[in-house]
């Protein structure tokens, strides 16, 4: 042991002495370097003076005429202190002209309980879309805050997102709270103005009423690896479709998601993910017509679980997306619901068990073939499965009492063409062959859309 201590003492001494020797050596080297630097600087100055003399001798008149351009001084801070901290504000204006071969008011996705969202082909003729107003800034050294309000053409204001986000947590953690678009899937977090088509894929319309926002908390962690690995979890009040608010304390709407991603050479990049959502619905009502053609209000109470996978791939020649870029994305989702279905809540109020397993997917591709011009195509498909309604199986009610829940395989083909003269303008034409309607009719939908962004320059996620 004593030998060990001696060794240790020697080591410690060596460690203490070495740096000072090294420092002395460093200082000498530093002095030398400074001397060298001075020498070369003088050499350089003499060289440049000689060059100038040479130039002046060669062409005195020409050189003298050249004025020396001074870089302008940075703009002086002339704003008052009160407005200097104004947050970044951006406003998106959207609108469209829409033509459909079928009446959009009777549009329902066959085989699926309506999600209650602002889904479907939308109204005919000219329509003002949602105007998105986003205000954001850092709050302090620990938090940032963002709010996006959507002002609809029907003169309603909705809070699309309003959340705080941590900026100072260590080790790759971020916590978000308030109302925010859930991190599930790929398209769920994308705001409407950044969609590649005028509308969302059918799975998003059927499963989440376009996009699932959550009032709650989200925690996200990014792994310290060169491969992008992100894991996130959310909880909240579960209020939005397919959940409902429940009159009880605690959590609803547990969501977990994971993403991985990376590059393939310098020209391509990708991201893939998986998500899972567990929700409870209490008296989630929807309108249908019964076997006599009378309007009825039915409701579902039970569990709703959704899982999904998503993948995105982007490619550009030499990785330069300014000229050409190809983007391919696909998502699959599957939902299981298990609970009680009440027929005619306001009248008969018959109730019994109900089970369904429904799924869907889409594949879309957008190609920017020259700067500012893009074309895209999308295929959507849903499978409603057979909803097992005990009221029907036990012959209490005929299947015709639930027309919207008849088994169906809705699908849709969409093509798109858009032109973006700048980063802040997009004009788009879209045509869709929609075979999702509950009445089985094919709806041909044509839409022209404009999108304008003013204010702060936005930055988009991948």
């Amino acid at each position: 042991m004593t030998r060990f201590m001696r060794v240790a003492a020697h080591l410690a001494l060596a460690c203490a002495v070495l740096p000072s020797i090294a420092q002395a050596a460093d200082e000498v080297a530093e002095l030398r370097a400074e001397l060298q630097a001075l020498k070369s600087e003088y050499a350089a100055r003499v060289g440049s003076l000689e060059a100038r003399i040479g130039q002046l001798e060669a062409a005195p008149a020409q050189v003298a005429a050249e004025p020396v351009q001074q870089p302008p001084a940075p703009a002086a801070g002339s704003r008052s202190a009160a407005s200097a901290f104004n947050p970044a504000i951006s406003l998106i204006l959207a609108g469209n002209y829409s033509g459909t071969s079928q009446d959009p008011d009777s549009w329902h996705i066959a085989g699926f309980m309506p999600s209650g969202g602002d889904v479907g082909p939308g109204a005919r003729s000219f329509n003002l879309g949602e105007s998105e107003l986003t205000v954001s800034a850092n709050v302090d050294p620990y938090f940032s805050a963002t709010m996006t309000a959507a002002i609809t053409g029907e003169d309603e204001i909705g809070v699309e997102e309003a959340f705080f986000r941590t900026t100072a947590l260590p080790s790759g953690f971020t916590v978000k709270g308030g109302r925010f678009f859930s991190g599930l899937g790929y398209l769920n977090e994308v705001h409407a103005h950044a969609w590649d088509f005028t509308d969302q894929p059918l799975i998003y319309q059927a499963f989440f009423g376009n996009q699932r926002a959550q009032d709650g908390l989200q925690a996200k962690w990014i792994a310290p690896t060169d491969l992008f690995v992100e894991i996130g979890a959310e909880t909240g009040n579960g209020e939005t479709f397919p959940g409902t608010r429940r009159s009880r304390n605690g959590f609803n709407g547990e969501t977990v998601f994971a993403h991985i991603g990376g590059d393939i050479g310098a020209t391509a990049s990708w991201r893939a993910g998986a998500s899972w959502l567990d929700l409870n619905a209490e008296g989630r009502s929807y309108e249908d017509v019964d076997q006599f053609g009378e309007q009825v209000l039915n409701s579902f109470t039970g569990k709703s679980q959704t899982w999904g996978v998503d993948a995105v791939f982007k490619w550009a020649p030499t990785g330069n997306s300014a000229y050409q870029q190809l983007k391919v994305q696909a998502e699959y989702m599957s939902r299981r619901e298990d609970g009680d279905l009440t027929f005619d809540v306001e009248g008969l109020g018959l109730s019994d068990t109900c089970e369904s397993e429904q799924s869907g997917w889409y594949l879309q591709s957008v190609y920017q073939f020259r700067p500012r011009w893009r074309v895209g195509a999308r295929y959507d498909s849903l499978d409603s499965g057979r909803t097992q309604i005990a009221l029907v199986d036990d012959r209490v009610l005929p299947a015709a009492a639930f027309p919207l829940l008849q088994a169906a395989d809705p699908d849709r083909v969409t093509v798109m063409f858009d032109w973006s003269p700048s980063e802040f303008t997009r004009l788009r034409a879209q045509y869709a062959w929609d075979e999702a309607r509950a009445d089985g009719e094919q709806d041909r939908q044509f839409r022209l859309q404009y999108l304008y962004g003013i204010g702060a320059h936005g930055a988009h996620k991948y």
Partner: protein, 301 residues
């Protein structure tokens, strides 16, 4: 067992005494800042460059690979002045990395160290892609590189205090080499002074300003706005009357419009590297300017 404990303890003591060997992880937005970080940081830094010289740095996706690099970075070296506005804020926000948030020691913007050219007096997007803080393409004037290098040296010394002397030494060495090179370049390029040129986008402004090239027209009528047929027609008649010596193109630019113009006004197009890696010859910051001047001279009659 006793032996093992002894060696383990000795190793621990050695580790505790020894100099910190962990490298500073740097995420540079462009190849130029990557090259500069390598010049200054040597083997004490590991550098990841987010883009290549063949990419338009205005238009980059906030790719997952970049978020992953931002997550583990100790220092982000960016151009600033909103050049990377479309993607860098997303990386910083998504990274969950407090070290690289704007305002932190680990967030460095080159443009913040200088007075920029073309600071707009009026801000309106009808004027195209203008940058409120001025023209951000500052790397094509080596005097700017020298200023940025000094600031980055002190930033590295602040961030990694244990190696401060190492960075300062490399910094002064780089400065000496750059100063010498600038003299050499300026002597070599002196005959180019006053040469009329047509530029593509306003990202060659600093080069023109440094070498005294006379920018007589830009192929983009406004920053970021591609030329219309009508505008190109006007350009042809204007330039035919008094032809420039060269049309300058960057490695990442599409050559179509420049070639079209070149055929009509009979003026050669010269493709410049613009950034380290833009041409096979432009391997580092020194060869970037060597190659730029060589190419300008080779095409200049």
């Amino acid at each position: 067992m006793c032996n093992f404990i002894r060696s383990a303890m000795a190793l621990l003591i050695l580790l505790a005494c020894g100099p910190a060997q962990a490298t500073v992880r740097i995420l540079a937005t462009t190849a130029d800042w990557g090259a500069l970080a390598t010049e200054l940081g040597g083997d004490r830094v590991s550098v990841y460059v987010a883009t290549t010289a063949l990419q338009d740095v205005h238009r980059v996706d906030a790719k997952p690979s970049l978020v992953a690099r931002a997550r583990t970075a100790d220092l982000v070296v960016a151009t600033g002045a909103e050049l990377e506005i479309g993607w860098l804020p997303v990386l910083v926000q998504e990274s969950g990395n407090p070290k690289i948030q704007p305002g932190a020691t680990g967030y460095f913007e080159a443009a913040a160290q200088l007075s920029l050219l073309e600071v707009p007096t009026q801000l309106d997007r009808s004027m195209g892609d203008i940058h409120p803080q001025g023209n951000p393409h500052l790397q094509l004037d080596p005097h700017n590189i020298a200023v940025v290098a000094k600031a980055l040296t002190s930033r590295l010394a602040m961030l990694d205090a244990g190696n401060a002397d190492y960075y300062r030494k490399r910094g002064s060495d780089f400065d000496a080499r750059l100063t010498q090179a600038i003299t050499r370049w300026e002597i070599k390029a002196a005959p180019l002074k006053g040469m009329p040129v047509v530029i593509m986008h306003r990202d060659q402004i600093y080069l023109c300003h440094w070498l005294g090239l006379k920018e007589v027209a830009a192929i983009e009528p406004k920053p970021g706005v591609p030329p219309s047929a009508g505008y190109l027609g006007q350009l042809v008649s204007k330039l035919s009357a008094s032809p420039p010596n060269l049309i300058l193109l960057n490695a990442y630019n599409d050559a179509k419009a420049a070639n079209w113009l070149s055929e009509r006004v009979h003026v050669p197009v010269v493709t410049l590297p613009f950034s380290v890696g833009g041409t096979p010859e432009a391997k580092d910051l020194f060869s970037l300017f060597d190659d730029t001047i060589n190419r300008l001279q080779a095409q200049n009659p």
